[in-house]
Amino acid sequence: MNAPTEAALKKRQGRPLVALVGNPNTGKSTLFNRLTGLRQHIANYPGITVEKKSGLLRVGGIEMDLLDLPGSYSLTAVSDDERVVMDVLGGRRGLQRPDLLVFVLDATNLKRNLLLVSQCAELGIPALIALNQCDAAKRNGIRIDVELLAKRLGVPVVETIATRGNGLGELKQAIVSALDAPSTLPKIHWPDCITHGCSLLRASFHDAGSSDLTQAEALRVLFDSDSVFTCGASDKARVKRLLDILHREIRESGLNPGSAEAVIHYRHLESLLDGVVEASGPIARSHDSIDALLLNRVWGTLIFLGVMYVVFQSLYSWARPLMDFIDIGTSATQEVIRPLLSATPALQSLVCDGIIAGVGGVLIFLPQILILFFFIALLEDTGYMARAAFLVDKLFSWCGLNGRSFVPLLSSYACAIPGVMATRTLSDPKARLTTILMAPFMSCSARLPVYILLIGTFIEPIYGPFVAGAVLFVMHFVGLALALPLAWVLNKFFLKIKTQPFILEMPDYRVPTLRNIFQRMWERGREFVLRAGTVILAFSILIWSLLYFPRDHEVKEKAAQSFLAEAAVNHSPAEIQSALENPESDISTALTHHIDSIYIEQSYLGRFGKAVQPVFDPAGFDWKITIGVLSSFAAREVIIATMGIIYNLGADVDEGSYDLRSVLKKEKWTSGPREGQPVYTLPVVLGIMVFFALCMQCGATVAIIARELSWRWATFSFFGMTALAWLSAVVIYQVSMLL
């Protein structure tokens, strides 16, 4: 590095901003990871769900901010998510305008990759080109005259192979030199009708008092139907009328306004690339023979099912030992801490049952998240993900989802948290939103204990194992069966976002690098713990406090008295006395369980449960079920422990517990019109299961949806699903009462 460059750059105000720009699948993110290492920061652009990845790039003594812009094929900005690139490049909406653009181009498909470059030339920002995947281009028999390309484009061109880290040093040096001695791309020559159209549009925006358009933005208004910039105009009707006239002019000059922009750019690029790119004979793509197998109607489908089976098994079964390990670690920590705080019971419970349990409740998701992102990175990097999406797209296209929704929805069968995070692979904002909203409907593994408890207690003994198995099977599809039509309704009538065409590039098959895979896992794991984790922890502490407080000593005294009075009927005072001295005795344990049960009944959540029981009454739920349902809003599996406490069995019950099952069978209504009748009748049991199938009883999912979309959508999803679950439980109960 030469000294003047360094000095000149240090003199600048703040760190220079360098943005990586390029099509999807060019290796842009790999290059970004290579350049910044782990010094990355992931956030969202304000107001939208597009990920903003930035990091620190250090070359010698110079520090720069590196921004990884979302991959896109063109500057087309029809949705809010798409306009990000234009907003950053134009320095709009308070975003910093980059000092240098580094275009990452796929050398195997140079012409199409250059279209975005050609569009960006209009912005006049200094640029340089990283010609990536040069190795693949050579293998495909494509020769590129790099010097000639640099000469024609007027900016430096550096060859790189991001996956192997080749050319990184040269690229870093080129970035520093380009900041020091910037060069810009030559602007395209537009036909008169287009230049004229742009000036009319800019004048019209100016006159109407809308914010002034740049030339690049005027081109978007002219060529994108319903550009976000048109929608931002103060007098939309006037802009539309003007556009009609301008489009007619374009048509009269012999161009199709729908394709004119691309046609003119490609014409320009074809002459620019003349003599630069040389393909030896017909392009021999390495993936044709593999695709013949992997996309085959029969074999392709079978291989797809096999791959997805492995992904699902790894989430559902193989993550189990790791999750058990975290579970054991959590209880062990609780056991170590509990005696240390025995002097202050409230603090003891806060630390052990609130904080430690909450942290454990966050970490428990990590194994599944890491495993899923291992597979996602693997599938994406090898190039299989696009094929998988191609194979199954038809299953989802009718309801507004697409082929890329498959992996997130499948993962949600293990757990909705990694499932929702996996929707990052969907580039269409509308399909992504819909997929996220549908993910919590998939029957996650936390619902299973509830199904097993209820089916094992009430269905298997009466109807036999065959019906029990069938019911369990059906329960796994209740959510899916409702979710897809709901997605259709949502898309058809409510979502006002435009659908993007579902276009998939079939990238070359590549050998993935471990480095990239682990970086993806690390990124997602860290993000989950830091961002969603804190909210999940707050949720679990909130639910803990609602179940713990108020803790009047009087309540305990009264509970103990009434318990002992009952015990005195069957036992002599001496028996009771000696039993109470031994904390392990049946009577002592029963007393503790009884007190816990009264406490939970008296807690804020317990009182709330009793108060809102009338709401659940049409579904046949008594107050105990209601409290169980409410307590499981932190996490579904909590209901088993809550029921254990409410039914005087203590929190240490599980879905196979014989005691819990026999208590449930005996439970009867103690008051009201149904007094003396059993609480758990078949309609109630089915109602509870369907309620659990459809309800968003998972604070962690709410938190992750808020993180991925917004609190508004998280709230919508929470109340929408709860209402649907309630309605379904009521319908089941009421209809079966009529029969």
Binding site: V78, S225, D226, S259, A279, D393, K394, I503, L504, E505
Partner: protein
Amino acid sequence: MKRTLDSLKVGSRSEIEEIASDCDRANRMATLGFIPGRIVKVTRLAPLGDPISVEVDGQEISLRRSEAHIIQVKNIAE
């Protein structure tokens, strides 16, 4: 009657004549390389018949039939 890309059989080649200009996806499709004069070849169908996979300007792209429908073709060799 105008033929459109979605009506072609696997293996057939044709020349892109025009993109339906009144369609809001026209610009997007053109940007990807579907522009008049280029040769487009249908390479594959998904197992469920949709989407289709086509080759245009040396790249393989998958698109839904509804998108292929806006691309008018001529000089078809089936």
